[in-house]
């Protein structure tokens, strides 16, 4: 039996300490020569993939449909048994551990959510803690804590049933359920794929800020490259057979795509997308004595600043920190940055 990842005493009330205070941080995952060949098929669906997923990072597997990204992810919790190769989690080889026990230590979120329809929201969230035989008081306080964490008022939602919730709310419950037993790693398969664009964007933002507190190791599968750019600390662009075309930070992939396949996956607008990864205060700010009609915050991205200028027909905007002007940024400054990235001396 694996130890529970936390050592929280049952009497401790999670509400006071908040989720960040005692939750398990992520551990690294290492895939080596991981291969899956389905019976009767000559070509492996996943062909000798090796990659290291650093602790506490979001690694996004992105690639066209059928490239094997989901299969790769599902081998980590052995929903699909690898044909060969090994997986280590936090240094332990899990390839031959009891699969049911293993899965209780790994968060799992899928696009269709899969809440259990006849169980209340609280019972759904309590699923894994119950399997791990936590005592009732601890489960109850953990359920409330997790619902609060994902932005649902426990008093309001605890006793509802999945069908009474909207898609976005259901996916919040899905995330709360995956986090309930405090697993150090999470597997997420297009978790925000089935909700409308506005809800998706909000869920992504909340997910990012949640991850900032939690620091889990997250394997995230999507076919949406923009989602990968937004969420990933690192992105693995996969081609058929789950072969890694490029595995790097979003900035590096945008600036230096490894080959045509990666380029085609990035699609148009790579230069504009790169502006999303730099903040206004990374530029040398101009004198703020010139009056401009619009203001951006120092924490805004260059993309947002440029968008504002294009939209308003301006050549410069004021930059403010905490609402007070600290300088000015011009269109030319941004163009210079795109064409002469700080880390690229060749331009």
């Amino acid at each position: 039996m694996p130890e529970n990842p936390t050592t929280v005493e049952p009497t401790e009330t999670g509400k006071q300490t908040g989720p960040a205070a005692h939750d398990a941080r992520g551990v690294p995952i290492v895939l080596s020569e991981l291969t899956k060949t389905y019976p009767g098929q000559a070509k492996p669906a996943v062909d000798a993939v090796s990659m290291e997923i650093p602790a506490g990072e979001i690694v996004v597997l992105v690639g066209p449909s059928g490239c094997g990204k989901t299969t790769t992810m599902r081998m980590v919790n052995r929903l699909i048994e690898p044909t060969s190769g090994t997986i280590t989690i936090g240094g332990d080889d899990v390839t031959h551990l009891d699969d049911v026990q293993l899965r209780r230590r790994i968060g799992y979120v899928i696009q269709q959510i899969g809440l259990i329809p006849h169980l209340s929201i609280a019972q759904n969230v309590a699923l894994v803690p119950k399997l791990l035989k936590w005592d009732k008081a601890r489960i109850r306080s953990r359920v409330d804590e997790m619902l609060t964490t994902v932005g649902l008022d426990p008093d309001d939602y605890r006793d509802r049933y999945p069908r009474q919730l909207s898609g976005g709310q259901q996916q919040r419950v899905g995330v709360a359920r995956a986090l309930a037993a405090d697993p150090p790693i999470m597997l997420m398969d297009e978790p925000f794929g089935a909700v409308d664009p506005i809800t998706r964007s909000r869920l992504q933002d909340e997910f990012l800020s949640l991850q900032q507190q939690l620091g889990k190791t997250i394997v995230f599968v999507t076919h949406d490259f923009d989602e990968a750019l937004k969420l990933g600390d690192r992105i693995a662009v996969l081609r058929e057979g789950s072969k890694i075309a490029q595995y790097d930070t979003p900035e590096q992939i945008l600036a230096h795509p490894a080959d045509e396949f990666v380029e085609s996956f990035i699609g148009e607008g790579a230069a504009l997308k790169r502006l999303n990864f730099e903040r206004v205060d990374s530029l040398p700010l101009q004198d703020d004595s010139v009056q401009t009609r619009e203001t951006v915050d120092v924490s805004s991205t260059l993309h947002a600043a440029l968008d504002l200028m294009v939209g308003k027909g301006l050549r410069q905007v004021t930059v403010a920190r905490d609402g007070r002007p600290v300088g000015m940024v011009r269109v030319d400054d941004i163009l210079d940055r795109v064409n002469r990235p700080a880390e690229d001396p060749t331009a």
Binding site: L102, I106, Y108, L115, I116
Partner: protein
């Protein structure tokens, strides 16, 4: 009435067992449903006669036939119900470490329960009707009146006895049905109600 109850209980036990053993494989499930359907088309009177020729004119000739007929709706609805769980629900549960037995007992069965219960309900109605025919073999229950009526065609009480048989068989069927409405109300998890 008691005979109907025993029949249904036996059929539920056997039927659910068969359903649980077969629902996973499409081939086995289809084969089982088809077999049950064929058994269902056999005329009950002929089956009663067949068993009487083996075990004689007693309850042993009646009970197996009754159970056999009661089986079909339970097996069919059991298999369909167990297969009806959303594959995503199963995948998510499996992915979080819900094992085989728990999956069946805590997830598949509760999801299938309304469908299974509907099967048991149909099965009960059938049984009440066929128990009456069983009276031709062994004089038990209300069927006796129907049997007497046919046996003494033309006598003064023929019609009365026939009416007693029909009325009371119907009444019992209705009582059982009412019981099912109550069972359904109290055993269906709130979230599974349509």
């Amino acid at each position: 009435m008691l005979l109907s109850l025993y029949t249904v209980l036996a059929a539920v036990a056997i039927g659910l067992l068969i359903a649980i053993l077969t629902y996973r494989s499409r081939v086995r499930a289809d084969f089982t449903i088809a077999t049950a359907a064929v058994a269902f088309t056999l005329p009950s009177v002929a089956l009663f006669g067949f068993l009487v020729s083996i075990v004689g004119s007693n309850l042993l000739a009646v009970f197996p036939v009754l159970v056999l007929y009661a089986l079909l709706p339970i097996v069919r609805n059991g298999i369909v119900g167990l297969q009806s769980a959303d594959p995503n629900v199963i995948d998510a549960a499996r992915g979080m470490g819900v094992g085989g037995f728990r999956m069946l007992w805590q997830i598949r069965l509760p999801i299938a329960w309304p469908v299974i219960l509907a099967g048991i309900r149909v099965s009960t109605q059938l049984t009440v009707g066929i128990v009456a025919i069983g009276a031709f073999v062994q004089k038990v229950g209300l069927g006796t009146y129907g049997y007497d009526a046919l046996d003494n065609l033309g006598s003064v009480n023929t019609q009365n006895k026939a009416i007693v048989c029909i009325l009371f068989v119907t009444l019992i069927a209705l009582v059982f049905d009412a019981v099912f409405v109550v069972i359904r109300r109290f055993t269906t998890p709130r979230g599974a109600r349509a």
